[in-house]
Amino acid sequence: MANELNQIMIIVLIILAIALAFSIGANDETLSALVGTGALKFKIALIIGGTAIGGGMILTSGGFVAKTVGSDILGEGLVYTTSMLLTVLISSILWLIVGSFAGIPLSSTHALIGSVVGVIITYSIFQGGVDPQTAFNWEKLGNVILSWFISPIFGLLITYILFKIMAKLYLTRLKGLNQIEISENYFKWILVIAVIFAEIWVGANSGEALGILYGLLDNGSISFEQYYLYAIFCGIFAFLGIYIAARYVIKNLAIQMTDSRPSEGLIIQISSAIILMIATLLSLPISHSHVIVFCIIGINLAQKKEIETKSLSRMAIYWVLTFPIAAIMAGLLYFGLMSIGFI
């Protein structure tokens, strides 16, 4: 009976992980900068972007961020149980739903890692008999949390510096609107490459779905072959997420971006892609949206444009709160399930 329940939970987890991959694609707004410039037809842009995000996810599924979330973050000898993974997923999904209803942009990465921490602490204290101090790979966890603070700041700095260099070498030399239009037309095509590059690393750094599957691989619930098969499914569903669901958000944002300059979009995309690439190669799951927001701030600072500090500080509060709240929610949920004898 317990084995059957475990099998059901594994199937549910695989389905939820694939659904999560779909939602990663569905929430991706990277393409809006490209669609806004009108460089590619909308459907073609969706296909290229979807392929890049799905491809990035599949190509890095063998390790990197997925391994960090699904295994490396835990202390030596500790592996996720299926019920832990299920609680982590349910808790982070709940917190993201609450955020969506409240109209707060939250990071799914922060919510997931927060939920992992909450579940593992509860497990260590009440169930596993594990010392919470050895339940985590503190170095890895510390690096992950540190990267959440460093990555946006680096995003801001890279964007600022890139813009200043480009302005000094080229942009300030453009005198008339015709010249600006011609050069922006070239930037539009470079932006296509930059967005594809960015999408690959967005997919590669979106470790939530693959992290869960890696957890199942790590605890022996699924084999390597199965893991890679499901990783491919995740890639395909991320593609479908963009193609089916993200199109509305992308279209709306693209309409607002029609008068934004492709050169600015290019700098933002290159900067965020560089940050995501470095973080992925260092196996650190970071928040793409946080990086993008800081890249936009960087470009505004470089042009001495006004920055809306009020909404930014509101956003910052929720960013900081996501991790502890997700941890508390997941901890309580796990404790609740434990108390009723489900786990």
């Binding site: 806004g36 410039t37 009108g38 302005a167 000094k168 942009l171 300030t172 453009l174 005198k175 008339g176 609107l177 015709n178 010249q179 600006i180 239009e181 922006e184 037309n185 029609t258 008068d259 934004s260 300059r261 492709p262 042009q303």
Partner: protein, 221 residues
């Protein structure tokens, strides 16, 4: 005075060229309007009527407008498309004001109160001519040199400030004539001064828009 254009010829022109052509037509029309008011000051009513009717009846700009609109909506200039369209519409607004003025001025045959009034009105018209020509240069500079366009617009704003002073002097003069004027004459002259200033104000607002564009598109060191 103003040429008619072949549709084929217009289709060949770029968005920038059509904007320049449109600006030229409207600017010329403006000069015809100003010249007409000068004829009125000289009491050459026949020529005044000819000029005013010309302003009202000219339809060349409609051809250019149609050619521009069909081009801009298909254009791939995404990020500056809306501004290009707005710029064009602002030029068109000059034509509308000119037409409105010409129609209003044709309703009554005015006799000016004295030479001083005529003189001051002529000064305002000279300024209007100047800012109208400057605006045309500024619009044509947008494509090649936004800094130059910005500076010209600054001069337009300065000239408009001078015009405002003369406007108040004229209105003041109008209210303080000893003779008890026929209300028609008073109204006509008051409306005429205000209409001239309405055109000047539009040119000033237009200049501010050009300055906004230069700040929006230029990246400063």
């Amino acid at each position: 005075m103003i040429l008619e254009y072949e549709e084929k010829e217009l289709k060949k022109k770029s968005i920038d060229e059509l904007t320049h052509l449109f600006m030229d037509i409207i600017s010329k029309q403006n000069l015809v309007l100003i010249e007409g008011i000068e004829y009125l000051i000289d009491e050459n009513h026949e020529q005044f009527n000819t000029n005013m009717n010309h302003v009202i009846e000219t339809t060349t700009e409609v051809q250019v407008k149609k050619a521009f609109e069909s081009k801009i909506f298909k254009s791939k200039l995404i990020f500056s498309k809306a501004d290009r369209l707005k710029l064009f519409n602002k030029i068109n607004e000059i034509k509308n004001i000119g037409e409105f003025m010409a129609n209003r001025m044709l309703v009554y045959r005015i006799i000016f109160p004295d030479n001083e009034f005529k003189l001051r009105l002529s000064r305002i018209l000279d300024s209007l001519k100047l800012i109208s020509t400057d605006l045309s240069t500024a619009v044509k500079s947008i494509g090649t040199d936004l800094n130059k366009a910005h500076d010209i617009c600054e001069e337009i704003k300065e000239e408009r400030r001078k015009m405002r002073k003369i406007e108040f002097q004229l209105i003041h003069r109008l209210y303080h004539y000893d003779m008890d004027y026929l209300s028609r004459t008073f109204l006509y002259l008051k409306d005429m001064v205000e209409d001239v200033m309405m055109l000047a104000d539009h040119i000033k607002t237009f200049s501010e828009y050009i300055q906004f564009l230069s700040i929006k598109y230029l990246i400063f060191k």
